[in-house]
Amino acid sequence: MARRPAPPLPSALKAPPPRPGEGNGPLSPVEQAKEAGITVVDWVDERTSLSGAARWLMFRKVPKGTNWYYTLGSATLFAFLSQAVTGVFLAMFYRPDAAGGAYESIRHITDDVFLGQFVRGMHLWGASVMVVLVFLHMGRTFLFGAYKYPRELNWVIGVVLLILTMVMALTGYLLPFDQRAYWATIVANNITATGPLVGPYLGDFLRSGPEFTATTLSRFYAIHMLLVPGAIAALIGAHLYLVTKLGTTAPPWSKVDRRPELSETEV
């Protein structure tokens, strides 16, 4: 913008020239907001040194050739987050009461609560989507040989996450307490009990007694919404840490350019 000439005002009315160190006059509100933001971030960073970690996480390089197949892991993570959030809201309405309260509360969520069926549908179908994604992610890892050195431990963590996802899917469908839920739980519990020697006791432990009791549903509820999600969240943390530390794999077909000037390592 072209600068217009200053109006011919008496010197007393003229704005004083900026003092050294004051910059170019008062900041505009936008710039002030920016400054405030920077100050806050600086304040936090001075006390936590998180910026280094953020740089390490976000500005690491991903190898040449990284393609859409590499989004399956983060897509699974995203499905898990969606499950966590919708699950928290469903828990606000759900009652783990085998004597009729559980079925009734699910009916209430589905029929009466505003957006209830939508949120329950998201949780229900989110489970299927997460199962599909977790298997696709594992398939990708297998096909690309990404479980090999040095990422063996991350594969093991991934298998634990796969099993925990299936445990979530199973314990989740007891909670609506309809016929399918009830019989699936009975069958799953009895399958656990067919393990030799320890099976019978394990079955009793899961069921909290020799038959389905009032506590069985609460147990599965606690497993579904506290125990396993906690374990999944912790293991996802470990999984991501290792991914960041070791780097994502390059597609197995990548041609390595072995010119010496390229082989110096960068962070």
């Binding site: 085998a98 069958v187 030799p196 038959e211």
Partner: protein, 222 residues
């Protein structure tokens, strides 16, 4: 060499070059503090883990209470056909505590087994002995049929085909004042109809089975 040995023998960590050594710390002191750190941690962890675990595991050792329940007059049951009756095996949870048993009068011609001789009525549990689906009695074929994985049982509840590992479980019965009563604690039988304390479905009782799948403190033979 002699100097090095002297270094090894000194009781001060600084002399021995132990990592994290500081002025005036002795090895005995460090050893004591290491032990204290480990045991304090173990005690603190056990203090919340053990009670919680005991609390969760407790029900395994608690024996279920059962009772005799009236299921109808003597004439209600015939010798050749099963009548379904609904009994409450687990009071206090409403509908979920109930189950269905198929009951018929003992027929000396077919129930020849000596273990059956004390039972005036044969009451068969509807829990499939494979993994616990609800079996149904089909009169025309004289078979119990499981809708899940293809288990089929005969009139006595013995396996005819499919994956079930033992016959269907049974309930004890008795006659009191002209009425049939059923005891709500079931028992399991092996392929010779010998009685065992109740097992979960899928646990065979023939041969080594009864040892591989031991009886549980929570469910004893009635």
């Amino acid at each position: 060499m002699a100097n090095k040995r002297a270094k090894q023998k000194s009781k001060y960590t600084l002399d021995r070059g132990i990592p994290g050594a500081f002025e005036g710390e002795t090895v005995t002191r460090r050893r004591f503090m290491t032990g204290a750190a480990h045991s304090a941690g173990a005690v603190a962890a056990a203090a919340f883990t053990l009670p919680a675990l005991g609390f969760a595991v407790g029900p395994i050792f608690k024996q279920e209470r059962h009772s005799w329940e009236d299921i109808g007059p003597l004439e209600a049951f015939s010798e050749n056909n099963y009548i379904p009756v609904v009994v409450t095996i687990n009071p206090g949870v409403g509908e979920v505590g109930k189950t269905t048993a198929y009951v018929r009068k003992r027929n000396p011609a077919i129930d020849t087994d000596r273990y059956d001789s004390t039972t005036p009525y044969i009451a068969i549990s509807t829990r499939c002995a494979h993994v616990g689906c609800p079996v149904r009695w089909i009169d025309a074929a004289e078979r119990f049929v499981c809708p899940c994985h293809g288990g089929v049982y005969d009139l006595l509840g013995r396996r005819v085909s499919g994956p079930p590992v033992r016959p269907l479980d049974r309930f004890p019965t008795r006659v009191r004042a002209g009425r049939v009563q059923l005891y709500t604690g079931r028992f399991s039988v092996n392929s010779e109809l010998r009685r065992f304390s109740p097992r979960d479905p899928g646990e065979p009782l023939d041969g080594i089975g009864q040892y591989l799948y031991p009886s549980r403190p929570s469910a004893r033979i009635p």
